[in-house]
Point group: C2
Chain length 347, copies 2
């Protein structure tokens, strides 16, 4: 039996007699032969592996999204491996410049925190990348995100609609962090439309978007003589931390302080009270991200980057409306969802 | 400038004049030259990448552990990439047999759900693997875990100590899932020692360890005329789901039903009431896992697999004791921690 015959069997080359194939396979099984996968992927020039890089793996929004992206990749024969950067600008840079990675990824899906447009424009040609989330890069790469300004506006308008007028915001961040900037913009727009002035002393910064930051910001708000009657938190973790502080102080949610979050993580569907939140369509975001990066990988073209708008909806629960809600129910349509739109960006 | 000179610069070969190095580097930067990383790792035989494979990335315990393992790996110059299997036995098998992976991992850290000892003994020699979690494989591979029987015993004993006698367990699973089996064993042992019979009708199965499974099991328990006065849930997600059901039914935690979880995820430190739980020392588990697999990788030896016991403690919070607890406080020593032990297993 020649080496060529073995090679043909291993490579699934079609012109091999069935009994020959069976004998070779039996020998392979017996000897525990494994083709050198690294060498094979080197030869083929494709690894069929995509890296998904998120700022924080233990932020449930990213973990939930990662699960969906892994599943979408697997359906299409791609392995998606996860890394996280902790929002470290150097790690994000190394990643897109691909000079610190010993792996040969076919593409990278990145949810950047600290990366700048200048960093992004340095990346080498022919390295497919797709960006997730709120940082806007003026069409430097394919990008999937919801309309954060519209979502924050809708969340804030809901608080105004239920009669609240002293509304705090938790999650304001130093310039450079676009997520916070866009959500604050929507918060202000809702106030402006309703003719309610924004009290700047109710705009609370948060270093990170964790429960502990929300709890701390809420402690400061409750210490004031004129505490707010509602709070819009820039993510659900901040909201769940803030809720804990309000309840531990003996106040009621939503009667004394109504709370809205952002992300619709599972935690908020099982908290007491359940959490009203902006619910991005994560399933669709995952599918759009995988489909678009595979398009880039297969075409290797230099077509202009595209901007994909994913839909979201406001999920109204007990923390604002006192409406009992089955925690297990997913994606109930409390309000009509905004429509997905897809537009080619102008380069 | 010769190809050899360029190669020397790229490879960080020491005997290159500084100005030559600078000129080559400038050319590299200008041309966007990237060394073929895949070819390089092929030549060196090491990728410096470790795969961490968990059953479910969006179960907070695994996400929190993954963050710690990534950090420990990074400190030692290793990239840790994450994948999850959803507990799929075929994916777990493919992974340890390394015949479905196009990547060249130096080692694999695996938290298996469905894998059997027989599967594990099939793996090829020289593929470093470390197992996390509760499945016991009779010393087929290095293994880091806490003593689950002792931990479940301590959690159950705590419920007995606060005067509860009708204690339910949520998370019982069909045979093959060692996590549930070991925790049930500890639950029974605590009852036996206290001379309290276990009511088998209070042993609730759970298909998965998610909030929704805990909520459903609790609904069934509350529908009984003789409902339990306490429940030991085999993880925190089950406990948080069960807590939601109890509170939504208008009952009080812990007065009517006391609840203990397992894992000490961040959610339970911010829930209302906060959750009493078994707290494994995740930081130490992460360090032990990385150190041990790097030892295997560097030595490539066939020394007998070792069994590493990580410490845990019972964190007593409001869901059993009504003790107010600062949700943000991490690792407060409610009880003396059990001591870490490390023993070479008998092959």
């Amino acid at each position: 039996m020649s080496i060529r015959t073995v090679s043909n069997v291993v490579s699934d080359y079609p012109y091999v007699a069935d009994d020959t194939r069976a004998r070779v396979q039996a020998a392979i099984d017996r000897l525990g032969y494994r083709p050198n996968l690294l060498a094979r992927s080197l030869k083929q020039g494709r690894s069929h592996v995509i890296a998904l890089v998120v700022p924080e793996l233990d932020v449930p929004y990213f973990a939930e999204l990662a699960r969906l992206i892994i599943a979408e990749g697997r359906e299409r024969g791609y392995l998606v491996m996860i890394d996280h950067t902790d929002g470290d600008k150097n790690l994000e840079r190394e990643l897109i410049l691909q000079n610190a990675r010993p792996m040969n990824f076919d593409g990278v899906i990145l949810s950047p925190l600290a990366l700048s447009g200048a960093d992004l424009s340095e990346r080498p040609p022919g390295a497919p990348i797709l960006l997730l989330g709120e940082k806007s890069f003026d069409s430097l790469a394919d990008h999937v995100a919801i309309d954060n300004v519209a979502a924050a506006d809708e969340a804030t308008t809901h608080l105004i609609d239920i009669g609240r007028s002293r509304i705090a915001a938790i999650g304001v961040q130093p310039s450079g962090y676009d997520t916070a900037k866009l959500r604050l913009k929507g918060f202000r727009r809702a106030h402006r439309r309703a003719g309610i002035p924004v009290d700047r002393s109710l705009l609370m910064t948060a270093t990170r978007f964790h429960r502990t930051d929300g709890a701390e910001a809420m402690r400061q708000l409750l210490a004031r003589p004129d505490r707010p009657d509602a709070v819009f938190c820039f993510n659900d973790l901040l909201a769940l931390g803030a809720m804990r502080t309000v309840l531990a102080a003996g106040l009621r949610v939503p009667e004394d302080v109504a709370i809205v979050g952002f992300d619709d993580i599972e935690d908020g569907r099982f908290s007491t009270p359940t959490l009203t939140t902006i619910s991005p369509d994560k399933q669709l975001i995952a599918r759009q991200a995988i489909e678009q990066i595979l398009t880039r990988i297969s075409k290797s073209d230099d077509a202009a980057p595209i901007e994909i708008r994913a839909p979201f909806r406001l999920a109204i629960r007990e923390s604002t409306a006192g409406i009992p809600c089955d925690g297990g129910a997913r994606h109930q349509a409390d309000r009509p969802a905004s429509r997905p739109t897809r537009s080619d960006s102008q380069p």
